[in-house]
Amino acid sequence: MIDPVTVEILRNKVAGLTDEMHYHFYRSGYSTIIRESRDFSCVVLDAEGRLITAPPMFFHGTVYRHFCARVLATHGDTLAPGDVFVSNHPYDAGLPHVSDMGFVAPVFSGKRLIGFSGSIAHKADVGGTMPGSTSANATEIFHEGLLLPPVRIRAAGKPCPDIERLILANSRQPELVAGDIGAQVAATCMGVARMEELAERFGADTVCEAFAAILKGAADELATAIAELPEGSASAEGFMDTDGVELERMIRMAVIVTVKNGRVLFDFSNSDAQAKGPINLRPSMVEACCFYSLIGCLGPDIHFNDGCRDVVDFKYAPDTITNATAPAPVSSYQMANLKLVDVILEALSHFRPERAVANAGSSGALLINWGKGGRPGQSNLQYEILGSAYGGGFGHDGASCTATHLSNLHVTPIEILESEYPVRVTSFELVPDSGGAGEFRGGLAFRRAYELLADGTVIRRYDRAKCPPQGVDGGKAGRASRFVIKVGTPDERVTPASGRFEMKAGDRLYLESAGGGGYGDPAKRAQERIARDIAEGYVTADAAKRDYGK
């Protein structure tokens, strides 16, 4: 039997080596989306493709199991040292969307398969109808780009240039993609080499036993936390504004959580039928939302790895938004993920009221294509990811003006934007009263206003305009999001949460993210919290009277 000291040493080593893989990849990754957003993950898996430690980009963590299972099913008999497999297939391999390209490589000690090294990273373009391969109104996965089932891109250490040619021929940005593929293969192979070194030093048996102990430890840790929950079932539902195609129809997501015999079942059978537009989810993403929510609810320090699957079950109905069938499009999965997390957390709160939390405000994007109107020597594509606010929770006001849940990207500084693009950010302000009222208030949204100094095409992608973040346990909803164009003219108007607009120099617009939902009856809010909110300008005196009766 393996001793706990060796398990802990190997556990730290796996964490250190994935950190090193991340940096190695980051260091050699070429395209800006990887460099700036770090939209990638690197991992170590056991011989069955089970994840050993969670990557910082958490929602990739549940994908590898599906990807590896498919590699083993299709190529298991012919796996050889030096093989590297590639796939971007949401249906065949569970990847989030076609822009995310995954690589896994088997690791051998002698002839024995001891595990896999893997990585997933966003690619600038893999074809499809829209540049960037994420079309907000795609209706089939075939509109979203080239599909690669798991195939070898290196065989027994030798590159397979035909596959790479095929990929690059389908990309609008072949140079960037080629650079990124090179970096990703290198990082994956570095993981293989490091795992081989561990096997050499500690012995293959010890490494495999340590992996088993690390998986079992995580399962035990999660099981211990689940054992504290009361048995029973609870359900919740929530809505997205639209799927991007059928603009008038709201999309319903629903879950029933059942705790029984020390296990948790997430049942999504009652979710809407799969959508025409690209907000569908594959089970790999739904699982990420479930584990993220479960760990957040039970104790944020719990370690995730695929051992956690031993105590959690999932149930889906076919052809639903949470278990889409090909060829349903999936490229806007992140917006759906962020809604699903709200829904799952609401259901979980019935089992652990002290971790109850209201809906968060999700995450949106603003893109301005300046065409030929950009500043000389600068890029003409302005792209910002804008956060929102957390909901209030048991004993806790929601955080304001922040990235939420599975999203954690930086805001682009105003001074950088104005220095690089023909734009002026005329204000960036808190929106008073935007946090849902409650005993514990939702976080506040921000308003960001722009003046265009040249003509440009503005693309806004967001949610929460029709369906604002809901409160829980008597808390009120947060303020809905807004996108307002032609500000200060007779044509001023509020648009739907997502849209594309041709704008002229001198046009003004502003966006407001959604505020977090409130928790609990506003009448119970402590007087000193209300006084502080008013003093800080978070709540106006009028709203305090209206919402809190003070």
Binding site: C401, T402, E536
Partner: protein, 697 residues
């Protein structure tokens, strides 16, 4: 040279740590050093400092013979950690109050914790005044400063009882006029208030990091000013009248007290403490030419790791201290929760973990006998026989072996079905491997290969664990300095006066007029000269080094590129800068893109004034005869068997003296473990050099 005093016999370095205040007194006539160690006095740290100085005076040092005083302090760090800074008001451009709420939008800390809170604001919205004014990216005024609003704001903040005001307007780094005028108005309306301007503290692009750094400066300036005034008076009172008084900064250089009391550079002192140790290591690296060093400063709660390459510590220009973003130059270090006080526990899932919690000094490890019941790394060290329970701090503190073993047994061994020795050796292995893993990843991220480096352990526990860490990393050479426990204080006697100046102005390098760049550098240089003059440092001695922050167009961060040797700005100089950037980028990030356009983001000037350095005294030649051990003890290098190991007194090993492992070398402030497969030898300067002679790895 900065030193001007007539009698220049003694130079004093004082490093205040969490537990102890270390003092090193250098006799520049003989090169001899003397060390004092006193308890730190966290309530008012200057008391401990002065107590230490008094001890030297009591031993016959004449106060007027102390011609130089350099100080490393955690006063600002602790004030920030414990939120004991000033009451701060803020003035910002009207319409931008979400900048301070949003910060950089990303969350720090555990990503699963949806009950996330940002750190308590240094200046809440209720003490924030929005001032009508606006400058554009080119420095043109779009909205003139509303002076009445400033006046009214200053009065209101004064009435609200603030001690300090931070001022941060949009694009003030391009045109500081509005901030400068704001300061003048505040000085007029409320002269008692300290004012920190973002265009002084960090005239750098990106509104949130500039605002955050300015807020931290305003928050801590009154704290540091008060402390330095108290300390100065205390020194005067003891008759130590030298005007040569310096304070260590995060960038590894010192600043004169005259600069510290203005409050303008306070934020540069946040990492004063750890910087001193790295400076001492850099000095050692320069003295033993060619050696790259990796330092391992292992104390009570954590281990600090830094790399010294070509005699210079690596630097960073962005960082967070106590969750506050502070973007001024600092030595590049990593800290992990691996110290003597790190607690071992059986975590959920049955894992044996060490740290991050620390038993600190109170109650301390179980073996301190102060009520600590959690086993720590020090308890494991004592149960393995690594530490001598009767010779801790030279015998000043007795360690309770039975208490250590009891804690290990009940908390670790029994729950996991291990023996006490297995638990103790296991904890040691886990902590040693974690430090090695941290060094390996830190090195990989900077494109370094640790095997090529010498390990330099210091702090109380560094040399206890160094050999195991080195073996794990494939490092074959360890340098244990003569006084590992007072090494940081020595660093204070090895540092130049350094001031850093920065000014952002984003433009494509291809469109930059060289004469404009020259003008920007010249402005920074005049500022540097003016500061040095006001500090009484003759500008004739100053060395001014130019640097540019460059990036490929579209990147979100930039690299600092030295322009040393490039000379005045002209087309050829800009081309040379670009070539250096490509080279630097390739080294740090693995590739360069010579065809891509490059942007200049910021201009930097570093002013350096040489300070006389400590010179190590060469020990008299000696026969190198094998030293005699002072005793023996049982050591468990592994859990299965004890080895009887000779124990040597450090001072008894003379120059050239050799010790063959396994052996233990003890001294008042540290213990060095020399395992089998290692040899020790004392070099000409009293360093104990350990060399690996085991099988190749």
């Amino acid at each position: 040279m900065a030193e001007t005093g007539k009698s220049a016999r003694f130079r004093l370095g004082v490093d205040v740590g969490g537990t102890h205040t270390d003092l090193v007194l250098l006799d520049s006539a003989t090169g001899e050093t003397r060390v004092e160690k006193v308890s730190s006095t966290p309530g008012n740290p200057s008391e401990g400092v002065l107590e230490g100085v008094r001890r030297f005076l009591a031993k016959g040092v004449a106060p007027e013979d102390i011609s130089f005083f350099a100080h490393g302090t955690t006063i600002t760090t602790n004030a920030l950690l414990e939120m004991r800074g000033a009451r701060v008001g803020l003035m910002i451009t009207q319409g931008y109050n979400a900048v301070q709420e949003t910060q950089n939008q990303a969350r720090d800390g555990n990503p699963f914790d949806y009950f996330y809170d940002r750190p308590t604001p240094i200046a809440p919205q209720s003490r924030t005044r929005e001032i009508p004014e606006r400058t554009d990216y080119a420095g043109n005024v779009l909205v003139p400063l509303d002076e009445d609003a400033v006046r009214e704001g200053a009065k209101a903040l004064d009435a609200a009882g603030v001690d300090a005001v931070a001022v941060c307007y949009m694009f003030s780094y391009m045109n500081p006029a509005h901030e400068a005028r704001t300061r003048a108005i505040i000085n007029e309306v409320a002269p008692r208030l300290h004012v920190s301007l973002s265009s002084d503290v960090l005239p750098r692009i990106r509104e949130w990091p500039r605002l955050s750094t300015t807020l931290v400066n305003a928050y801590l300036a009154p704290v540091l000013t008060r402390y330095i005034r108290d300390l100065s008076q205390g020194l005067d009172g003891l008759g130590v009248k030298t005007p040569q008084r310096f304070l260590m900064q995060s960038n590894g250089g010192v600043m004169p007290f005259a600069a510290a009391v203005t409050g303008e550079k306070t934020v540069h002192t946040l990492l004063s403490g750890p910087a001193a140790g790295a400076q001492a290591a850099a000095w050692v690296a320069r003295a033993s030419a060619g050696a790259g060093l990796v330092t391992l400063d292992m104390g009570g709660t954590s281990a600090d790791i830094a790399f010294i390459e070509d005699g210079v510590p690596l630097e960073v220009t962005e960082g967070a201290v106590a969750r506050r973003q502070v973007d001024v130059p600092a030595l590049d270090m990593t800290t992990i929760s691996a110290g003597g006080g790190s607690i071992a526990r059986v975590a959920p899932g049955g894992f044996l973990t060490v740290g991050p919690e620390s038993a600190g000094a109170q109650p301390g490890p179980a073996c301190y006998g102060r009520g600590g019941e959690q086993p720590t790394v020090t308890d494991a060290d004592i149960a393995c026989g690594y530490l001598n329970p009767d010779y801790f701090l030279g015998g000043a503190q007795k360690l309770d072996v039975a208490a250590a073993e009891r804690a290990l047994d009940t908390q670790i061994a029994k729950p996991l079905g291990l023996s006490v020795r297995e638990a103790a050796t296991g904890i040691r292995r886990i902590v040693d491997e974690r430090m090695a893993d941290e060094v390996r990843v830190f090195a990989a991220k900077r494109g370094l290969e640790p095997r090529a480096f010498t390990l330099l352990p210091f702090g109380g526990a560094g040399a206890v664990h160094a050999a195991a860490v080195a073996e794990e990393l494939g490092i074959a050479r360890i340098l244990v300095p003569p006084r590992p426990g007072a090494f940081s204080a020595l660093g204070l006697l090895c540092s130049d006066v350094v001031h850093d100046y920065i000014r952002s102005e984003l433009s494509p390098l291809s469109r930059l007029a060289p004469e404009h760049a020259e003008e920007l550098f010249t402005e920074l240089e005049s500022r540097a000269r003016a500061d040095l003059a006001s500090e009484g440092l003759a500008d004739a001695d100053a060395r001014l080094e130019r640097e540019m922050d460059l990036r490929y167009a579209g990147q979100g961060y930039e690299l600092r590129v030295s322009l040393e040797g490039i000379g005045a700005m002209n087309a050829a100089a800009l081309a040379a800068a670009r070539a250096r950037f490509d080279e630097h980028h390739a080294r740090i990030h693995g590739h360069a893109a010579a065809e891509k356009p490059v942007e200049v983001v910021s201009y930097r000037v570093r002013a350096r004034v040489a300070v006389p350095k400590y010179k190590a005294r060469e020990l008299p030649a000696h026969s190198g005869a094998a030293p005699a051990p002072k005793g023996k003890r049982q050591v468990w290098f592994d859990a299965t068997r004890a080895t009887e190991v000779p124990v040597f007194e450090r001072d008894a090993i003379r120059r050239g003296g050799k010790v063959t492992g396994p052996a233990i070398v003890e001294q008042m402030d540290a213990t060095t473990i020399i395992p089998a497969d290692w040899d020790g030898e004392v070099d000409a300067f009293g360093n104990l050099i350990l060399t690996y002679r085991g099988p190749a790895r």
